[in-house]
């Protein structure tokens, strides 16, 4: 296959993945819409205990044929949605692979914002699929899919850049190590942030209205279970982020830019994200900060993370992480620092 063919394959695969995510989202919306009318079975509250995090408890309440048929239908749509999501993730993987093959010489698909965003959404969706059973994430489906679909659209509409070879400073095996770990952590933090947001919604609904019988919020796991899932995702993400930002990042920065920490805006924000998540982990063991405040910190963390990922490229022009194209390059290898050579 020629490079051009690979590139168009990649673009088509992205389009297909977007469509599949949309279909999966529709399937889950049908599932949840039809669940709205089904009251939470009396037994479901017990099933929804902290022993079983997640898990959409389908009504088994009063045994009428209608309720049973509805239960079967919702379960069908739930499974359909998950199946389509799996296919979409696979298609997106193809798009990433093709993107790397389209470059000459072949390379990892992490050369610009479009490619980073493509990979970031892929990892979010991939982690969701992988952890679906372990953490019983069915309740997360509509939100993850809406998030992935939105960010994917942003990537295609605003961030798209044609395939091009890597700039010199990016041609390093540290690119693989540094970027992979950063993106994996981003995926985990994003899922953790979604869980924390739902925790806040659920806790608020419980304290305001008491236990509800119907609706999406009523079918969310108990706050304790959400908190635990969120903690686990963050506990996974934080060491990976530490590795990406405080170990591989400085090592590479030292090799490429001569100084392992430059207070480059991207570095500063990665550090801010790190500090916020450190505060989150700290808050979970501090009296008065458990639960609600910790969840808010997790949301702040995810906001700084995505701001750093996309936003800072448009705010700052001094960043040496200038792949966004926003930064002006003066000297060809890096933006030249002031040259104050004095003539004697």
């Amino acid at each position: 296959m020629t490079d051009a063919a690979w590139e168009s394959l990649s673009n088509q695969a992205v389009a297909a993945a977007g469509l599949l995510y949309f279909l999966a989202l529709l399937a889950h919306l049908v599932e949840w819409a039809s669940l709205r009318k089904v009251p939470l079975a009396s037994g479901a509250a017990a099933r929804d205990s902290i022993d079983i995090p997640g898990g959409v408890a389908v009504a088994t309440g009063p045994h009428s044929d209608e309720a049973e048929g509805r239960a079967r239908r919702t379960a069908l749509f739930g499974r359909l949605g998950f199946l389509i999501t799996c296919i979409a993730v696979a298609v997106q993987a193809v798009s990433l692979f093709a993107r790397g093959m389209a470059a000459d010489p072949n390379r990892v698909p992490w050369g610009n914002m479009y490619e980073f965003t493509l990979t970031g959404t892929f990892v979010v969706a991939f982690l969701y699929v992988v952890l679906y059973r372990k953490f019983r994430l069915a309740w997360m489906a509509p939100i993850v899919l809406a998030f992935v679909l939105t960010v994917l659209m942003v990537a295609v509409i605003w961030l798209y850049a044609p395939v091009a070879p890597l700039t010199e400073a990016l041609s390093s095996y540290w690119l693989v190590i540094h970027v992979v770990s950063a993106i994996i952590a981003t995926g985990a933090f994003t899922l953790g942030g979604i869980t924390s947001a739902l925790y806040l919604v659920k806790a608020r609904s419980l304290s305001k209205n008491g236990p509800q019988e119907t609706g999406y919020v009523a079918r969310l796991p108990q706050p304790e279970a959400l908190d635990r899932v969120s903690y686990r995702l963050h506990a996974f993400g934080f060491p990976v982020w530490t590795f990406a930002v405080l170990i591989t990042g400085p090592i590479w920065a030292h090799q490429a830019w001569s100084s392992y920490w430059n207070w480059d805006p991207k570095e500063v924000w990665a550090f801010i994200t790190w500090v916020v998540y450190a505060a989150y982990l700290h808050a979970r063991t501090t009296a008065g900060w458990k639960g609600r405040n910790a969840a808010i910190l997790a949301l702040v963390g995810v906001a700084t993370l995505w701001f750093n990922f996309i936003g800072i490229n448009y705010f700052s022009t001094t960043s040496q992480h200038s792949y966004a194209g926003g930064a002006k390059q003066i000297a060809p290898l890096e933006p030249a620092p002031a040259l104050s050579r004095d003539s004697a």
Binding site: P162, P165, E168, A169, W252, W269, A336
Partner: protein, 547 residues
């Protein structure tokens, strides 16, 4: 009613809430080292780091900073006073992280003692009523209680629990029990993590205090070289405690410089595969060695690293004055675009009868734009190099001894040469060409550099940095990561197993308690019960789940 109702001793005449000096100190220490304070300091640190990413920083990009400052004359003095142009050295930023470190030490020290005591303590005896714990299970067996407990002891020991056995007589509940605890290393991980934050800070501090970072623009070729001492640098940023005699006495020259220019594809015109072929000596009398300096592949000499971070052209321009004296030579021009359109200045302060200055641009592959009516550079590769310069005569302002940038011309006391029709007199020269200046001032030649691609001399921007303590910092972060993994994934828990006679069998109760605040121990209980019952299935089991 003047009866004073007070329990205070009469000799203490302080108002309520008033603290003695020692009490005040203790109160302050408690506040500073509390978890809440640490948390708030962490968030403050995050907040305080933000301005430095938005406002240009002197330490990061001084050119950009001075540009910003001249664009914002009103804000600049305010920002300056607040230290917003060097946030990360400012007093308030330092105050936050120093407080954080104090808080950290205040946290580590007592915790270490606490941990030391906890590590040597035996696991606590089983609570009286195991079924009150959220995760518990029970089953009956025909084995004697001693046998059941022995099996539990063996099983828990194999799983590396620390054990203590207590008999029913001591706890008074009519059954012997085993207490087991594991996951002691979680706290060790936690302590290592906190300690290594200090280590990282020490390493980072060493680097920024004793290290330096400097840059030099060095011409390619045997005639030019660099030896590592202060006078040779174009720019130099030393740490606050830097000593020049710590600099390593190496020297090098650039024999040759290679670039691959992409000629096809979407990034046609982009340069890659930069390589500087260096010859260097580690010390004054060391043997010569060779190294190919590339991006991402610095040359390490002792504690110092040498980096290739930029390149450009240095056209060899000579000025011959009216008396025939020649001045000038290869002059580095600064690239302003991806296609290496570059700006530069040539000065001839000794020219007679008047000083001569040239200012203009260099185009590696020149092209003319009808739209703008000016030259531009098509490619960075020197296919058709040309300089286009304006000529200034008069006082170049170099005689008063003050330093002057070599990339700028002080035109305040000069006049620009013009043609008869009043338009600027422009020198457009290709390598090997000479132009006579009007009014008998002399001539200017763009010399062809021998043996170089395109006939134009090149320069490399070399960055040199000495960062002592970088290995300390790296060790610190790696330790932090290991400690972090321990503190996040080692799950400390306690398990109790109690066996007592019930009817003609034995009732075995198992309970577990998660002590990490994120674990799920119901699985542990289930699994323990299953293993304890062993292959002798068919025993009735009652799993109580009342969470």
């Amino acid at each position: 009613m003047s009866t004073v109702l007070s329990t205070r001793p009469p000799e203490d005449d302080r108002r309520p809430g008033e603290l003695g000096f020692r009490e005040l100190l203790r109160w302050v220490w408690r506040q500073v080292t509390s978890m809440r304070t640490a948390l708030i300091l962490l968030l403050l640190l995050a907040l305080a780091a933000i301005p430095g990413s938005i406002i240009p920083q002197t330490g990061v990009d001084s050119l950009k900073t001075s540009n910003w400052q001249s664009d914002h004359p009103k804000l600049t003095p305010v920002y300056e006073r607040l230290g917003l142009f060097s946030v990360y050295d400012s007093a308030w930023f330092s105050a936050i992280y120093i407080l954080l470190m104090i808080s950290l030490v205040g946290c580590i020290v007592p915790r270490t003692f606490h941990y030391w005591r906890g590590m040597r303590a035996k696991p606590p005896a089983a609570p009286r009523n195991l079924s009150r714990l959220p995760d518990h299970a029970a089953y009956t067996t025909t084995d004697a209680p001693e046998v059941a407990l022995e099996r539990a002891t063996a099983l828990l020991k194999r799983r590396r629990y620390r054990l203590s056995v207590s008999t029913g007589s001591t706890t008074g509940d009519g059954g012997d029990s085993v207490s087991a605890e594991r996951g002691y290393l979680r706290e060790v991980g936690n302590l290592i993590f906190h300690l290594s934050v200090l280590v990282v800070l020490v390493g980072f501090g060493l680097g920024s205090m004793f290290g330096y970072k400097g840059g030099v623009i060095l011409l390619v070729g045997d005639d030019f070289g660099f030896s590592n001492n202060l006078t040779q640098y174009d720019e130099f940023k030393p740490g606050s405690l830097f000593r020049a005699d710590e600099m390593e006495p190496f020297s090098f020259k650039i024999d040759d410089f290679d670039v691959d220019w992409l000629t096809t594809g979407r990034r046609a015109g982009m340069a890659r595969g930069f390589q500087s072929h260096l010859t260097y000596r580690e010390g004054r009398d060391s043997p010569e060695k060779k190294y190919d300096l590339r991006v991402n592949h610095p040359l390490s000499i002792g504690d110092t690293d040498v980096f290739l971070i930029g390149h450009g052209y240095a056209p060899t321009i000579t000025i011959k004055d009216a008396d025939g004296n020649i001045s000038g030579g290869p002059t580095p021009f600064l690239p302003t675009s991806q296609s290496f359109q570059s700006i530069g200045v040539v000065k001839a302060p000794d020219a007679e009868p008047t000083q001569i200055g040239l200012e203009g641009e260099f185009y590696p592959t020149v092209a003319f734009s009808d739209q703008t009516g000016s030259y531009y550079s098509l490619l960075g590769k020197p296919l058709d190099p040309m300089i286009s310069m304006l000529v200034y005569t008069g006082d170049l302002g170099m005689d008063d001894g003050s330093s002057q940038s070599v990339y700028a011309l002080d035109k305040s006391k000069t006049t620009m040469l013009t043609k008869k029709d009043g338009t600027p007199y422009r020198l457009d020269l290709r390598p090997g060409e000479t132009a006579k200046l009007p009014n008998g001032l002399g001539s200017v030649t763009f010399e062809k550099a021998p043996g170089v691609d395109g006939g134009v001399q090149r320069w490399n921007k070399i960055q040199i940095s000495q960062t002592p303590g970088k290995w300390i910092a790296l060790t610190g972060v790696v330790m932090a990561l290991i400690g972090l993994l321990g503190s996040l994934f080692i799950r400390p828990r306690r398990v109790w197993v109690r066996a007592r006679r019930q009817g003609d069998g034995t009732l075995v109760e198992v309970a577990a308690l998660d002590r990490s605040g994120g674990g799920d121990v119901s699985v542990v209980v289930d699994e323990l019960v299953a293993s304890l019952q062993g292959p002798q299935s068919g025993k009735q089991q009652q799993r109580e789940d009342e969470s």
